[in-house]
């Protein structure tokens, strides 16, 4: 039977409950919510005067009411040490979501740690150190002393290459300006750590180098552009599941205003179905290309649009570089950048060629070109808003594909204008404020391969779980376990010895090829199983936290509850590490180096915010952000007038492009011709294994799966990551719905649960990415696109049955996920 809470009533929010601004921290959309809290021994009443809504709650409330909350929006948590009721419900006044919650955000309350209701007991509450063969709880002072004493043994002034760092760079979740600054100041300010990587990829780099090199920031529009446009183009993205309320609250109204939709995706997603429902099938063009051929499609579209003269010549003349090549092709630039004509020559591709490579009909490519750029009957230009995401970011030939898509936006004058934009749809929110990372270099070091190769001595990890989200994960885990076990063995052999002896033993193991691993996280992660020191962090709502969403909307989430036990904000953990490093270095007589670790006397996350973000954005303070509420302000903030922060609705409205740092303000086109599957090893897998293992996220289990593995509602639906397989392929493989299969190839193996999917093309499966119990990364080979961008999407493998449906899958629904009106 489906999971049921058997909750048939909830405490009523009293009229005098405290109300906090909350931006959902689970995805980039950043929907507005309010957190209400009130003492655990109080309750509101059904009388209008006795509840926070001022309505009679003894009556049934209508659809879309504000005066209702689901059991998932309720919990009992600690606030200033006391138990309080907590309700976190969507805010109708927030322009991002207009009161909509999603299946993820509307479970924020239920996904808080509670010692009363028992939710999220997996959250870390104490620092822990590997002792006596397991992890033992300890104090911050003890844990940080060990971290500092081991770390100072491997770093020196101007030589920090043996310290490897994995650190998130995002907002939302436990990221945000406070925390990226804290970690950034430590590793890029006090130190110049070069061997570092980001939470979802094996290097410290942009995911979208080319658009930035062309002068175009990847978040350049406003969400309202979807409601003002003629055509919505969605490339390698599934916004109904991955940016839910952007789709529901902005794209759907756009379709209802008459926008047509072009979807570029080898797979039919629920987004495609919903677009057909909203816009009518005639107004939706699903270009189900052969996987990885996006570049051929975009170059063909660009060529055709230019040949038809459907370009914005005035815009090209005024806002883009004239001449030829401005940035030549080299190791740091996988395609030449320059003028429109240069790109036109390089990217030239006929309809016939484009159709043959992509597997589309010429007619469909022409139709797409018309929907993007053909002037309307009255001669006015068509507007097109383009959203793209991991299908091309983590797809084939990242640099050139994104460049080719931005080419179309520039050529048609669709950037910096209402109803335009060529933007990432995004994963987490953003919240990046750090000292320069220029010392990291370009291309950045491929850190995970360096670790496999035996490099690095101490590894500091900030909310990264390589075990679930890296490529070549099978080999990475094997090596990482081996190297960290060497240190565990040394620690076990010195149980009961003094700190000095212990540190010597650890350093001995490190010098013999071991790796000392320090893990800062909110839960005991999978890579955290290899850690020697574990430091507990808090997340959004357990601290004040600022982030910006996919239209650069900056908000302050107000702290509404205590973190678990002794857990702390990452920025304050970074500060404490810096202070401990300074202390130990001074003890060791390394004063000049110790001086580099001064400047961390922050008491609160607000101090970190003022030290970092505010230093570059002096108008922005907590008080002013609080006053801007859940609508916040769109970055960049340009002033403060009449008690309000003044922001920027969309970028580049003046036609000057700056993201590349060129003084002339001219955008560049990208001249990248089609060249097949670019990353090493991909063509080999394609030619030698039977099934494409396309992969991505799913609605319920999106990037907060690390929390949801302890959420009953979610685990009941997807106890094991699923793999969508065409029923005819299932018959050939001899598997039934719910069976467990092994997915295996030349680099590794993983497992998944079969979900029959008639809309899946033959031999093209789709597996959920980032699962705690079935990591798709196990079978992704080590080959990356240029500039060390993983290509997770292009993985081929064979499939065999492991077992019949396990008990947890026995009564799952395996029906189509597509809405039907009947």
């Amino acid at each position: 039977m489906a999971y049921k809470r058997n909750i048939d009533r909830l405490p009523i929010i009293p009229a005098d409950a405290k109300k906090h601004n909350v931006t959902c921290h689970y995805c980039i959309v950043g929907c507005g919510y309010h957190a209400y809290t009130w003492p655990v021994n109080k309750q509101g009443g059904t009388d209008a005067a006795a509840n926070a809504f001022g309505v009679n709650l003894a009556e049934q409330q209508p659809a879309e009411t504000e005066a209702w909350y689901a059991p998932s929006m309720y919990n009992i948590v600690k606030q200033d040490g006391k138990d309080v009721h907590l309700v976190i419900k969507p805010d109708r006044g927030c322009v991002v979501n207009s009161g909509l919650g999603s299946v993820r955000g509307a479970r924020m309350a239920e996904n808080r740690r509670s010692d009363k209701t028992g939710t999220q007991q997996q959250r870390l509450s104490e620092p822990m150190v590997w002792r006596y063969g397991t992890w033992q709880p300890t104090s911050w002072a003890d844990a940080l002393d060990l971290v500092a004493r081991v770390t100072t043994r491997v770093i020196d002034k101007d030589d920090e290459d043996d310290l490897f760092v994995s650190m998130f760079d995002h907002g939302g979740s436990a990221g945000g300006y406070e925390n990226t600054w804290g970690t950034g100041k430590l590793y890029f300010g006090s130190m110049k750590v070069k061997n570092c990587r980001i939470h979802n990829r094996p290097a410290y780099n942009s995911e979208v180098h080319s658009t930035r090199d062309m002068g175009v920031d990847e978040l350049n529009y406003a969400y309202e552009d979807y409601t003002l446009t003629d055509t919505i183009m969605l490339v390698g993205t599934n916004p109904l599941e991955c940016q839910t309320n952007l789709f529901l609250n902005h794209m759907v109204p756009g379709m209802r205003n008459g926008a047509k939709v072009i979807i570029v995706d080898p797979r039919r997603t629920v987004t495609a179905n919903a677009c057909e429902v909203e816009a009518g099938a005639d107004n939706v063009l699903h270009l189900a290309i052969k996987t990885g051929t996006d570049l051929a499609l975009f170059n063909t579209l660009f060529t055709y649009i230019a040949d038809q003269g459907w370009v914005d010549s005035d815009f090209i003349a005024a806002s883009t570089l004239q001449g030829d090549v401005a940035v030549p092709l080299d190791e740091a630039h996988p395609a030449a950048l320059g003028s429109f004509e240069m790109a036109r020559a390089k990217c030239k591709m006929s309809l016939a060629e484009g159709a043959s490579i992509t597997g589309l009909s010429e007619a469909d490519i022409v139709k797409a070109a018309e929907w993007i750029a053909k002037p309307k009957d009255d001669g006015s230009r068509r507007k097109c808003t383009t959203g793209y995401e991991k299908g091309i970011i983590w797809g084939n030939d990242n640099y050139r594909v994104i460049g080719a898509l931005v080419n179309i936006g520039l050529a048609t004058g669709n950037i910096g204008r209402e109803g335009g934009g060529v933007c990432r749809l995004g994963g987490h929110q953003e919240g990046y404020f750090r000292p320069s990372d220029a010392h990291v270099g370009r291309p950045a070091p491929y850190v995970d391969q360096l670790i496999i190769g035996g490099q690095g001595k101490v590894h500091h990890i900030w909310a990264n779980d390589h075990y679930k989200t890296t490529l070549n994960a099978t080999e990475f885990k094997r090596e990482y376990n081996r190297r960290t076990n060497m240190v565990k063995d040394a620690m076990d052999a010195h149980a009961g010895s003094s700190r000095e002896e212990l540190v010597d033993a650890i350093v001995g193991a490190i010098n013999a090829g071991g790796l000392f691993s320090v893990n800062v996280d909110i839960i005991h992660s999978q890579i955290g199983q290899a850690a020697h020191v574990i430091l507990p962090a808090v997340e959004s709502g357990e601290m004040n936290l600022t982030s910006m969403n996919g239209e650069r909307r900056l908000r302050l989430v107000e702290k509404y509850m205590d973190g678990p036990g002794n857990a702390k904000p990452d920025c304050l953990i970074a500060a404490a590490i810096a202070q401990n490093l300074e202390r130990v270095l001074r003890e060791e007589g390394r004063d000049a180096y110790a001086d580099q670790f001064k400047g961390y006397d922050w008491k609160t996350e607000e101090d970190a915010f003022m030290d970092g973000y505010n230093s570059g954005n002096p108008e922005v303070t907590y008080d002013r952000l609080r006053a801007m509420g859940n609508n916040g302000v769109q970055e960049p903030v340009v002033g403060f007038e009449n008690g309000q922060l003044v922001g920027t609705k969309r970028l580049y409205t003046d036609g000057k492009f700056t993201r590349h740092g060129r003084e002339d303000g001219k955008a560049l086109f990208c001249g990248g011709e089609w060249r097949g599957l670019q990353a090493p090893g991909k063509a080999y897998q394609r030619d030698n294994f039977a099934f494409l293992i396309n992969n991505g996220r799913a609605n319920v289990i999106w990037q907060n799966w690390f929390l949801d593995k302890a959420n009953d509602f979610v685990s009941d639906r997807f106890p094991i990551p699923f793999i969508e397989i065409n029923p005819d392929d299932m018959a050939e493989l001899g598997v039934k719905a719910g069976d467990l299969v092994e997915v295996f190839n030349d680099v590794g193996a993983t497992q998944a649960l079969v979900y029959p999917t008639p809309t899946a093309r033959r031999k093209e499966t789709f597996m959920v990415f980032g699962a705690p119990n079935g990591a798709q990364g196990n079978i992704v080979n080590a080959g990356t696109n240029e500039l060390i961008l993983p290509n997770y999407k292009h993985t081929w493998a064979n499939i065999r049955k492991i077992s019949d449906a396990p008990a947890s899958a026995a009564d799952l629904s395996f029906k189509s996920m597509e809405y039907s009106a009947g």
Binding site: R5, R9, Q61, E64, W68, A70, L100, F713, Y819, S820
Partner: protein
């Protein structure tokens, strides 16, 4: 695949205020509230024991509109034709569900072809053969299902609901 905008509008206009639900409720015969005065003292709300229909009223795979625990809470009874866990009646195939989407309160429509309830508001779908499990959607709970009992005369009684109903902070108002 005709987008049912009208249904949404109907939902918005009539949701639990207009005549549609009341009319459905009149088909459900007697409603016998059980010991209402005691409800406040119990940990769980005390549900009425309502007769929603008779086995003879049900045709396989045709929804019968009902309301429970009161006339402002629309639902359906279904005879699925195959035994399911939690199914009532001689064939173990009778189930009852709320038909208000637990996401945003829009009225669900029944799709007989795959025995699902579907929401035109935000495309959520619930499987009537799997205890109302949300197949896909934005609700944070599975579909509230009725605890049903069928007596020797074939009368079908509801005696409880297993999730909070949309739009009320107590299932029994």
């Amino acid at each position: 695949m005709d987008r049912c905008d009208k249904l949404v509008d109907v939902g918005r206009r009539q949701f639990l205020r207009g005549g549609a639900i009341a009319a459905a409720a009149t088909a459900t015969a007697v409603a016998l509230p059980a010991a209402p005065a005691k409800a406040a003292a119990l940990a769980r709300v005390d549900y009425p024991l309502n007769r929603l229909g008779n086995v003879a009223d049900l045709k396989p795979n045709e929804p019968l509109d009902v309301a429970y625990p009161d006339e402002n809470a629309p639902g359906v009874l279904l005879k699925l034709g195959t035994r399911v866990e939690g199914g009532a009646g001689p064939d173990g195939d009778i189930v009852g569900f709320s038909t208000i989407c637990p996401h945003k309160g829009f009225p669900l429509n029944y799709v007989a072809a795959d025995r699902t309830l579907n929401c035109p508001g935000h495309y959520s779908r619930f499987d009537c053969e799997a205890g109302g499990q949300q197949i896909w959607g934005q609700a944070t709970q599975n579909l509230p299902q009725y605890a049903l009992r069928v007596d020797e005369k074939g009368d079908i009684y509801a005696e409880g609901v297993d999730e909070l109903l949309y739009g009320r902070l107590s299932n029994v108002l």
